[in-house]
Amino acid sequence: MLIGRVIGNIVATKKDLKLDGEKLLLIQPLELSGAAKGAPIIAIDRMGAGPRERVLYTQDGRTAQQILGRGTAGVDAAVLGVIDEIDFGTTAHG
């Protein structure tokens, strides 16, 4: 799983039938440090993530299809959660 920031969304009237009614978010991939990494991607969102929120997402096709729940579909990225906080880089000794 990966983290990213919601930077917008796309609207597409004409799209694969399996994506009917799905919210399509533009997500800027982030490194754990918070720095932007690579070009924005498009993911389906069932979590109601909003602009500027940090999200947990997958770019694994099988996982994205599980989230979509419509069997075999042409989907390769999905939001799994909205991030409240990441604690990273600290050790047991602080």
Partner: protein
């Protein structure tokens, strides 16, 4: 999925039988602001996209899924035509 713009097409008379009748388009991956990012590639088209249209596409194994139950051997497929890109960050 990723954004792209259709910038050409490709014709191959001799190809895998399962690609028969399927449109092959050249797409340039783009950023939300329309700037090119990365290298252009060839994708199968399940939507009837045309030159200059902004599209979104899926890659890897899932690229074959929009054609199900046909098992089309493809690693990139256009699955939607973009009407609008909203950038709010």
């Amino acid at each position: 999925m990723q954004l792209g713009i259709v910038c050409g097409s490709l014709v191959a008379s001799r190809k895998d039988d399962r690609l028969e009748g399927i449109t092959l388009l050249v797409i340039q991956p783009i950023q939300p602001d329309g700037k090119a990012t990365g290298k252009a590639l060839i994708a199968t088209d399940s939507m009837g996209a045309g030159p200059g249209e902004r599209v979104f596409w899926v890659k890897s194994k899932e690229a074959s899924n929009p054609f199900a139950p046909l098992e089309v051997p493809t690693d990139a497929t256009i699955i939607g035509i973009v009407d609008l890109v909203n950038v709010e960050a």
